[in-house]
């Protein structure tokens, strides 16, 4: 059982939680992830580690409410517990002094790009960061990203904050304006964003690292549900990744795979909302004076 020590609402659908997990915090490195379960009926949910505090024995998780499990997770409050927090899983990011690098975080991907950005900066790189989201409300951690970036470009799809652009637009300009200067690019965000970042850098031959968020169950190499097709053969995201060379990923296959359970996800949300409504009705009924309840039946 891992208690939640702090909760921040970063946007309507983006929540931050600081969770007690000393064994994970002790070993966590940039680029790694954990698997959490909310309770005994819960899925095993992979989440990238956004930050960790070894001394305090805590890790920071940031997630976007996209389905039943993440929506339910969003209802947890300080003092509630996760049934499981296991990790750190996956390979850490390869950090060294490359020279000038670009770190791109899209939407909730800003969370996992942060510890990588910080580690790259601390390793002596010149770091140019790009963070983007659909709209202003979905942006967060601009200040933290700025603190570890030599240059920070902020953009939104709708222009409600920063520059009105997709993250690939400033990236392309950087690649054009500073030929040969940029040694490596990291991109974390929606699969489709990572695909287009990889397509953008490919003609320039700049190595591009993406962190894949696939469907997985155990996270230890046992199920193979997270397998991704690279030009060099199949790999497991949970043990071989989650970071891969974006130029080698079969993106269309990956985009199909991450959508596989879409219908069941809808069903799970409906079932959960129905249960929540029932719970609320029961709670309301229980709160009512008995006479009134009986009266309503009459």
């Amino acid at each position: 059982m891992n208690p939640i020590l702090e909760k921040q609402v970063l946007s309507d659908v983006t929540k931050l939680m600081v969770v007690e997990a000393p064994a994970v915090a002790k070993k966590a490195q940039a680029g790694q992830f954990v698997i959490v379960r909310i309770h005994d009926h819960s899925e095993r949910i992979p989440l990238t580690i956004a930050d960790y505090d070894r001394a305090a024995g805590t890790i920071t998780l940031i997630f976007q409410e996209v389905g039943k499990s993440t929506a339910e997770m969003g209802t947890l409050e300080v003092g509630d517990h996760f049934a499981t927090v296991v990790g750190p899983l996956g390979q850490p990011t390869e950090i060294e002094n490359f020279g000038t690098v670009v770190c791109i975080g899209g939407g909730v991907g800003i969370a996992p790009i942060f510890p990588i950005t910080r580690a790259l900066k601390e390793a002596g790189n010149t770091v140019i960061s790009i963070i983007g989201a659909r709209t202003r409300d979905y942006l967060f951690w601009e200040d933290r990203m700025r603190a570890f970036s030599d240059e920070l470009i902020v953009c939104t799809d709708d222009g409600s904050y920063g520059r009105k652009a997709l993250v690939t637009e400033p990236l392309k300009e950087l690649l054009e304006s500073r030929p040969d200067a940029i040694k490596r690019v990291w991109a974390i965000g929606p699969t489709v964003m990572m695909k287009f970042v990889s397509l953008t850098t490919q003609p320039y031959g700049v190595p591009t690292i993406v962190s894949l968020n696939t469907i997985m169950v155990d996270g230890t190499g046992m199920c193979g549900g997270c397998r991704v097709e690279l030009t060099t053969g199949p790999q497991f995201v949970c043990v071989d990744g989650p970071e891969f060379d974006g130029h080698k990923v079969n993106w269309d296959n990956l985009l199909a795979r991450v959508q596989f359970y879409r219908d069941q996800e809808k069903m799970a949300v409906e079932h959960w909302q129905h249960e929540c409504r029932l719970d609320r009705m029961v709670a309301q009924a229980e709160a009512m004076p008995v006479s009134q309840v009986e009266g309503s039946n009459a």
Partner: protein, 467 residues
């Protein structure tokens, strides 16, 4: 002694009728009644040389416990089994008896063997019905600490044995529920999870600490465990699924058996959406492979509502490695078998979902290294079987996570950790291994047998310090 009357056939075990059981996950056989058990045990010829005992990988005193059952002394029978086997309720259900004790039973030269497995199961279940197993008096603590990595059959066995020797044992399990393959792999209808929980509970009552959600190799390395513990036992099993490496294997709807079964068994996808983890539902499910895992997957598919469940296997029925009973149960339930058939490609629809498996027909050629006749593909015999789910159940090998993070650990062919078979010692001082991680993938009973050897060797190492 008067010559014993021969009863040619096994006492049938009552079970759920096939048409009923394919709609539920309850265990298929109900087990013997005491009367049936006594009648069956009396079939034993009490041979002078007990071949059955020689056929048992852990040397259970089989004639002894059969005789006690025949006399109605069930407590005596289970006590005798416990001397050699810590998990009889489990092995009675999952052992390939026809290749072991029952396969060499004198009766089966002409008739059916004594149903040793069913009787082992009967007394184990009888004992469980009497209430929780009493914990034996434990010796004074030795002050030595042992880490057991993995809570499957090997881990549970070694932990129990070491605790009974007075050592302080901590079991580390990567998943959220202990039991290893017994909970993630073997379905409820073949091995009720209640039995596994009971065994784990017993180990806990012996004073063993069970830590779940702890991935050795990640959360802590073997080197780090050795700083805290005097010895380490690796019982991490064979969790790495094999794939066919044929075109289209990454299409949606193509599962490893590990994933398909883990979703249904451990994550309880059969109760979705009450449980959050989904599994794809298919009208026509193909399972590729001929082992127990393949039978489990094909039968699970029926219970998940498949109209048609098909096994595709490249050799013939005689070469199938699955237990006879599992093949028989699968056939009874209507699983169809495409034998002598080799898959060569998956084909998908425009959304990336699998829709067909392309295969070649085989004929049997010369025997291969395993002594089984090699399947040889007939050129041009290509044909396609429609499917909306395909489960690849062609085997698995040890998970490389610990070897990758323990460079000094010697690993042999197929990723199996190299051990000295007399002691189960690995190449790293203080580290022992047993079960599928050492064999590359075998049976529950072999894992337990190795765990017992390891427990004795660990005890000796802890007492003498001699490696």
């Amino acid at each position: 002694m008067a010559k014993k009357e021969i009863i040619p056939r096994k006492t049938p075990m009552p079970e759920q009728p096939p048409a009923e059981r394919i709609h539920n996950f309850n265990e298929v056989p109900f087990g013997y009644t005491p009367e049936q058990a006594i009648a069956e045990a009396r079939r034993c010829l009490e041979c002078k040389r007990a071949l059955c005992m020689e056929g048992c990988p852990v040397g259970i005193n089989i004639p002894g416990f059969l005789k006690l059952i025949a006399e109605g002394d069930f407590q005596g029978a289970i006590n005798l089994i416990h001397e050699a086997n810590a998990l009889p309720a489990i092995t009675g259900r999952v052992c390939p008896q026809e290749e072991q004790c029952e396969g060499v039973c004198t009766l089966c030269k002409k008739f059916e063997s004594v149903a040793i497995g069913r009787l082992e199961r009967f007394v184990a279940d009888w004992e469980a019905a009497q209430g929780p197993l009493p914990v034996p008096a434990l010796p004074p603590p030795t002050g030595k600490k042992v880490a057991v990595v993995g809570s499957g059959p090997a881990g549970i066995t070694v932990a129990a044995d070491l605790a009974k020797m007075g050592h302080a044992v901590t079991v580390f399990e990567a998943l959220h529920e202990p039991g290893g393959v017994l909970v993630y792999g073997i379905p409820e209808f073949r091995l009720p999870k209640e039995i596994v929980r009971r065994e784990v509970d017993y180990v806990r009552r012996l004073g063993v600490k069970v830590v779940t959600d702890f991935v050795v190799g990640r959360t802590a390395t073997i080197e780090e465990l050795l700083q805290e513990f005097d010895a380490v036992f690796l019982g991490t099993g064979a969790g790495l699924p094999w794939f066919l490496n044929i075109p289209g294997e990454n299409l949606n709807g193509v599962y490893s058996a590990n994933e398909y079964l883990t979703r249904v068994n451990l994550m309880k996808a059969y109760r979705f959406p009450e449980y959050d983890t989904p599994v794809a539902l298919g009208r026509q499910v193909i399972t590729i492979g001929g082992g127990n895992v393949a039978m489990d997957a094909a039968r699970t598919a029926l219970r998940m509502g498949a109209e048609k469940s098909i096994i595709v296997y490249r050799r013939s029925r005689d070469e199938m490695p699955a237990r006879l009973e599992e093949i028989h149960h699968a056939e009874e339930e209507g699983v169809q078998f495409h034998l002598l058939t080799t898959p060569i490609a998956f084909h998908g629809d425009e959304t990336g979902r699998v829709k067909e498996l392309e295969c070649l027909r085989n004929e049997l050629g010369e025997p291969d290294a395993s002594g089984r006749r090699r399947p040889v593909a007939i050129p041009g015999s290509n044909f396609r079987i429609p499917c909306d789910i395909a489960v690849v159940a062609i085997g698995q090998s040890p998970n490389p996570l610990i070897p990758r993070t323990t460079p000094e650990l010697n690993v042999g062919r197929g990723g199996a950790v190299v051990v000295d078979e007399q002691t189960m010692k690995t190449s790293v001082k203080g580290v022992f291994a047993g079960g599928d991680v050492a064999t590359g993938g075998a049976t529950v009973i072999l894992a337990m047998g190795q765990a017992k050897i390891a427990a004795r060797a660990i005890d000796e190492y802890l007492r003498t310090g001699v490696w």
